[in-house]
């Protein structure tokens, strides 16, 4: 599971902004919303006749495979970097 998401934004004539997002505390804070989201996803799976366990398992696999992902986009002197660890 991802532990830390880092976002760095560099803009022309402005100080670069770097944000570290610790995933676990954010997940804990958003736990009530996440429970509702999981329930909504389970209901959607029922509607579309998809195995709930299989869908949740696949979703979890995607989330746990996220660490190592890096996206770096730069245009001129502006840049955005997103790193998931």
């Amino acid at each position: 599971m991802p532990q830390l998401v880092t976002v760095r934004v560099t803009r022309v004539n402005r100080r670069p902004v770097r944000i570290w997002v610790p995933v676990l505390p954010v997940v804990l804070v958003l736990a009530p919303v996440l429970v509702l989201a999981v329930l909504a996803a389970a209901a959607a799976c029922r509607v579309y006749r998809i195995s709930v366990a299989r869908a949740l398992g696949s979703g979890w696999r995607v989330i746990s495979a996220l660490p190592g992902t890096q996206l770096d986009i730069g245009l001129g002197r502006s840049a955005v970097l997103v790193t998931i660890r």
Binding site: R61, A65, G68, T69, Q70, A79
Partner: protein, 140 residues
């Protein structure tokens, strides 16, 4: 097929040698061949973990870079997630892809085939070099 074996078969096809002679020649050639290296020997490098996409562009004198690193594990997980999707969703995706000029029928893609595709992505290297853009896709 190597060149010597092809020569022997050509001689056989032209009727210059008999099938028995061709068989003996091919056996002799196989004996002289060095042992075939196993697949692990031919690819000593480590197993690739990430798919990298690097794009360098030059647009109106302004340079742009895109550098994406995606874990191959994420692609595998995505493939499994796509396998869960119902056919009507895939048909919608097909319509969207066709509209974008990519006539790909996702319903024809089987999870096993996709898994094999991801497995072999580590052998993929795409290099596109144009005056105003350079694209490189590879695994590391």
């Amino acid at each position: 097929m190597n060149e010597q074996r092809r020569d022997v078969l050509d001689l056989l096809a032209e009727g210059k040698i008999t099938a028995t002679e061709a068989d003996q020649l091919i056996t002799a050639l196989e004996r002289d061949q060095p042992p075939v290296a196993s697949s692990s020997d031919t690819r000593p490098r480590g197993r690739a973990k990430y798919l990298r996409v690097m794009v360098d562009t030059l647009d109106d004198g302004e340079s742009g870079q895109i550098n994406v690193r995606v874990p191959l594990q994420l692609l595998r997980a995505g493939v499994r997630l796509a396998a869960v999707l119902p056919p009507q969703v895939l048909e919608r995706a097909n319509a969207g892809l066709s509209k974008s000029g990519l006539p790909i029928d996702l319903t024809q893609l089987k999870p096993d085939e996709l898994e094999a595709l991801v497995e072999h992505l580590d052998e993929l290297v795409v290099d596109v070099d144009q005056p105003d853009a350079k694209v490189r896709v590879f695994c590391e």
